[in-house]
């Protein structure tokens, strides 16, 4: 049974006066049965008040308690997997393999945080005894709001990477569920609630609020008791939340991952020798009907002789693919509108396929250099192919490209020695720099960086994928000359968790 209510500080609260909304089946565009209630202002306030009251108690829980909690969430998700997957597919129209893959990714992401807590050094204990006894550790910052993403109903939503990083960090969590998959989110919220109950944790650590109105996000981010925000979505949405957060009496961090065009740069030699290139690119452009934040929206070719047939080959591949609809009619409408606008630009040759909404544009580097707007993202199964006459022109183009989540250099082995200046240039632009493969598909581990210089993210110093995402919700605190018994266990003389600590500049598992 899908809950139509809002979960406020661990309690499903009915509100018969609430505005309501439905989710749509993207294949039929017909509303699904559940009549969801929008969160009211008083429910938002209530969630924050209670999260704030319980914060210190949850922040002080041991890693062991949090590990059991995350394991319980995994169990409860697995128990409800049939219902969750059924609703996921009804609400997103994404095919079974994707649904199952994303479900498993969600379980795996939780597992990475379990391992992180088991290993323990992420909390960065630092001890110095050369003067006063100083012991530093990371500490949870307070109640956090996470906005579910439209394009990943599971892996970037109610039990997704952002939210699990919050719960693992020891911060109370308020989820603003994405209205396009409110049912999937409600089922996942129910699973988290059961895990809270099973572990005997205070239920106030979790709220799950729904709605289509921007009011809800605005009230959440402006609430004085909120301490941080995670968001994945559009530049306009992320920037609006960021600006709201900066206008508060106490500004708070907003980690908005706002996507980018993830340029793929291809050298001449690679372009002319890689037989699989067109298929690889077409698959990456079409993956998830182009609804990945790492979708390659710009492919920059170094083709001085103008002899590559890559664009027509990519179109051939795309034309053979039947793609599922986009996850919501509004996203599709916006995508098609942007394509129509692009078509008005005479510098761009737009080629659409008849098999789906996929398309590519072809444009010269000169024209992009003249019109920086062409470097902006068109969210969907589309990529702009930019033709360069030389590596120097390609480097000029890189200069005007704004901050990106990723960039990919596809070169031939013989090119490597000449790539140094390009690599140096791109390091300044991206969070992740690839030298093989495609940017879609983002591994979840400590070496991942998913976040780049603005406008890819509001704060490129942090990642939203991979376990380093936990650092968004932690800040350092130093204890000076603190009695051993009053210290957090990790900082106590005995090193009870037996983890690496930086003692007087040296990493060691020693006791003191």
């Amino acid at each position: 049974m899908i809950k139509a209510q809002n979960l406020v500080a661990g309690q499903w609260q009915d509100n018969l006066k609430a505005s309501t909304f439905h989710t749509l089946n993207p294949i039929t565009n017909k509303p699904l049965p559940t009549q969801f209630q929008e969160a009211s202002s008083s429910q938002i306030h209530d969630a924050l008040i209670k999260a704030s009251t319980i914060y210190e108690s949850y922040a002080s829980t041991s890693f062991k308690v949090r590990i059991e909690f995350l394991q319980s969430i995994q169990k409860e998700l697995n128990k409800s997997s049939n219902d969750i997957l059924k609703t996921y597919q009804e609400e997103s129209a994404l095919p079974s393999p994707r649904a199952e893959g994303e479900f498993q990714r969600t379980i795996d992401q939780i597992q990475r945080y379990i391992e992180l807590l088991e290993e323990g050094t992420f909390i960065q204990p630092k001890i110095n005894t050369s003067g006063p006894d100083l012991r530093k550790i990371l500490y949870p910052i307070g109640p956090i709001a996470v906005f579910g993403a439209s394009n990943f109903p599971l892996a970037f939503s109610t039990a997704g990477g952002d939210t699990i990083s919050v719960l693992a960090s020891g911060c109370p969590l308020i989820v603003k569920a994405h209205p396009y998959h409110a049912g999937t989110s409600a089922l996942v919220a129910e699973a988290i609630l059961k895990a809270i109950s099973y572990c005997g944790l205070p239920k106030e650590i979790f709220s799950h609020l729904g709605g289509v109105s921007h009011r809800i996000g605005g009230e959440l981010v402006s609430h004085p008791l909120l301490k941080g925000v995670g968001f994945t979505g559009s530049l306009s949405g992320g920037k609006a939340l960021y600006d709201l957060a900066q206008k508060r009496e106490e500004p708070i961090p907003v980690f908005a991952e706002m996507g980018s065009v993830n340029p793929i740069l291809i050298t001449e030699k690679r372009l002319l020798t890689d037989k699989n290139l067109s298929e690889t690119l077409a698959n990456s452009i079409a993956q998830g009907t182009g609804q990945f934040c790492t979708n390659p929206g710009m492919i920059i070719l170094c083709d001085p002789q103008g002899i590559s047939k890559i664009t027509s080959k990519v179109i051939d591949h795309l034309s053979k693919m039947i793609l599922p609809p986009m996850v919501h009619i509004n996203i599709e409408k916006n995508y098609l509108l942007q394509l129509d606008k692009l078509q008005e630009n005479e510098a761009v040759k737009l080629v659409r396929t008849s098999s789906s909404n996929s398309a590519i544009g072809v444009v010269s580097a000169e024209d992009v250099l003249k019109n920086k707007k062409l470097t902006e993202e068109i969210f969907g199964p589309f990529s702009l192919f930019v033709e360069c006459k030389s590596m120097n022109q390609l480097k000029d183009l890189v200069k005007i490209i704004p901050g990106q989540l990723t960039a990919t250099i596809l070169a031939h082995k013989d090119d490597h020695s000449e790539l140094v200046p390009l690599v140096t240039q791109l390091k300044n632009k991206v969070g992740r720099l690839l030298f093989e493969g495609v940017p879609t598909g983002v591994a979840v581990n400590q070496a991942m960086q998913h976040g780049g210089p603005y406008p890819a993210s509001t704060d490129g110093r942090y990642t939203s994928i991979g376990t380093d995402a936990i650092y968004r919700w932690l800040r350092p605190i130093t204890f000076q000359d603190c009695p051993n018994t009053l210290l957090p266990p990790i900082l106590q003389n005995e090193n009870p968790l037996k983890i690496y600590r930086l003692i007087n500049g040296q990493l060691t598992k020693d006791t003191l």
Copy 2:
């Protein structure tokens, strides 16, 4: 010879049309001879353009090169120490031991960064080979502006903790010198310039701009090529820069350390048994004529019986102290104005000493609970003593105290078991929590945290003292499937720097 000009991208530029200003001797309040030039808009622009052009080259320098650079700065400072100390004392009127102590602290701070670069793990290399080959490292973010602080002409100014953390990180540096000690700053800038020249580094990595007008800071922070800001000073100054930075097309981080009242909380048993308490407190209040960011501006006493004589004893001690003047007449005027305002508050008993400008206020906890404004900082040799009738009232008071750099709990051994709730409460409020001693005096090492929740700092997740300050100027970048030769050396298979790296979740010095 003190340079009156601005140092723009490594060149002293004369500008005869510039507005000019003088520094004052705080004892005589007479202007010192040098007629300093204010930086012009075009000089600011020039400094940023050139810093930005040289950024990638400086960012790619090895730790070895940066170590030699920092060592050269130490040498050049030592060579000029006589001139620097003479000008320091003329401009600040701070006594010789303080001048020499601060000079040595400046040298020592640089040494800590040399050691950090020698050890190397701060750069956080993380490698994962379970899927695609991912290698993550921290990378400098770009040109940084640092605003010199009024209260530390050396240790928080041109070669202070903020600026050295920038140079150690690999970011180009633009110093906005504090106009109250422009001569000291210019001499230090000259020493840094000599070190740049000696090491053969590009001189564009360093600019040193002066002026009294807010225009200069505003233009710097608004410049599109600037990537970050360090500031130590008032809440109004720091917040103004922060707001400017958030209004840019590309928002950038501003690390403003804006001071706080650093409450000292004293239990009844400690209050009645610690014979040295009044002297310890008086010394801390008066240290540096109260011009330390960790000055204890609020002392909260648990005195249910009302029998402690601590306030009169503190006044006795303060009355015996002859304090040097504050570092500038404007700071003193502002301090005295705030005391006058406080005197109008009937709830506060204000006691001034006749030997200096030092003073204390005495107020009941009830009155502070009624008037939150009393928790705001009065910058100078002053502390507000707040009398509580119980530990519960003390805890109520803690609830309304805003974010702080530090808090100190002075308790008796017998109290420890009862302190847990208070410790939990304070962890949420401060960057550093002390259990002995006084907050003034801030050790420089990796376990230090100097930065607390807003409004103590604009970003309590970072520190401005201790080598972790370097993290303000770094962001992660991940290389995926990168040819070994194109990787930064630290990430290469051979581990050429032989430092600890996190490989597949395990810390190791192994090669790959």
